[in-house]
Symmetry: C2
Subunit: 222 residues, 2 copies
């Protein structure tokens, strides 16, 4: 298991204000590097946060849901908040107060829009698979109409969106800058291990698209 | 960069219902394996989800906040939802419909309680540092009273909590079980790379507690 993490933090914290004219490149890069988002919605007047898979296509972030349930209901009735965070490392400073963590995050607000069109749903599932494991879609048992119908596909427009990146060193130490403790960064990354075949159901050798898979973030950092 | 991930998924999805008498061991293990949670709160009637560091101590999950701002306000006025998710891998099935991801998550609801006592706050910061990078606290420049005062420390009791674990193989394929596509799991884990010293501020050799750091999840899986 190898990592493609490039541990060269620079001393800066970028805060990209929530605005319509956001930094597209930063937001897209953060969204495109992850597999799991956290979606917040309100149920019975209280906030609920659940992990979900997602993908970006153009100016939208897509996710799917079970057709019934409080999550689908909440998405139909009120705004949601979709947050993607990559944990990039622990930042170790001189004092406990100067510790932090490096991360990249995107926070997206809005009312989810349901995608009901059959062809659009099929195309979206293809985009999802090809984005997650490139090269896999053409090899799959073709998706059935009943399966497409069973999917509730939702999307959020990238309008009310903000990004935040912390990739720096520890904060300045004004009290005792020569205190003899090691200060720096312990970089972290999400990496993939060797593929593990299903011992009962698998009928195939490991194909190129699986053997070569390094992850979205890995691919971007390689 | 090495991983301690043990890629032996079993074919099961555990759903631990939200209840007071939850499975302590499962919830604690998931919480203790992570660095970043996502906290959902309501601001101006809409859900907001932000990434935060956290730690567990006994029957509470702790986090800290800037003293002012909509997050601290929301925590004082209404319930929050704190979710921790570990992404454990991509699950590749026969059809797009049978793809999934493996994960462990905990969802915790409740009203946050502020910890105001100075000694309790100091002890909590020590617990946080020692939990995150064991062995580091005694080497740090001692935390100052003014730093403790600047921290808003909050905690949530582990009462309304649920855990969910998916660590299995792809779902059963009923349409074409002999379809010749590779099916299995691409395991993923968060791993740490070699420590990177602050080129300007560091005055020390890499100490044992940094060199030996393998991460919470890694330590548990080694």
């Amino acid at each position: 298991m190898t990592s493609h993490y490039n541990p060269e933090p620079s001393h800066r914290v970028k805060r990209i204000a929530e605005r319509a004219a956001y930094d597209h490149a930063t937001v897209h890069a953060i969204l495109d590097a992850g597999y799991v988002c956290h979606i917040g919605f309100i149920a019975d007047g209280k906030p609920v946060v659940i992990p979900m898979t997602y993908w970006r296509d153009g100016g939208y972030v897509y996710f799917h849901a079970a057709a019934k349930g409080r999550f689908a209901d909440a998405c139909a009735q009120s705004d949601v908040c979709l947050t993607v965070t990559h944990f990039d490392g622990l930042v170790l400073g001189h004092s406990a107060f100067n510790h932090s963590f490096n991360y990249r995050s995107v926070v997206l607000h809005g009312r989810a829009e349901m995608v009901a069109d059959h062809a659009a749903k099929t195309a979206a599932m293809q985009a999802f698979v090809e984005r997650t494991v490139p090269g896999r879609w053409p090899l799959l048992r073709p998706i059935r109409d009943s399966e497409i119908r069973a999917i509730t596909l939702l999307r959020l427009k990238l309008e009310q969106v903000s990004a935040k990146v912390r990739d720096g060193w520890p904060d300045e130490e004004s009290v005792a800058p020569d205190w003899p403790v090691w200060v720096g960064v312990l970089p972290a990354a999400t990496v993939f291990g060797a593929p593990v075949a299903d011992p009962v159901r698998n009928r195939a050798e490991v194909p190129e698209h699986v053997a070569q898979h390094r992850g979205l973030d890995g691919a971007k950092r390689a």
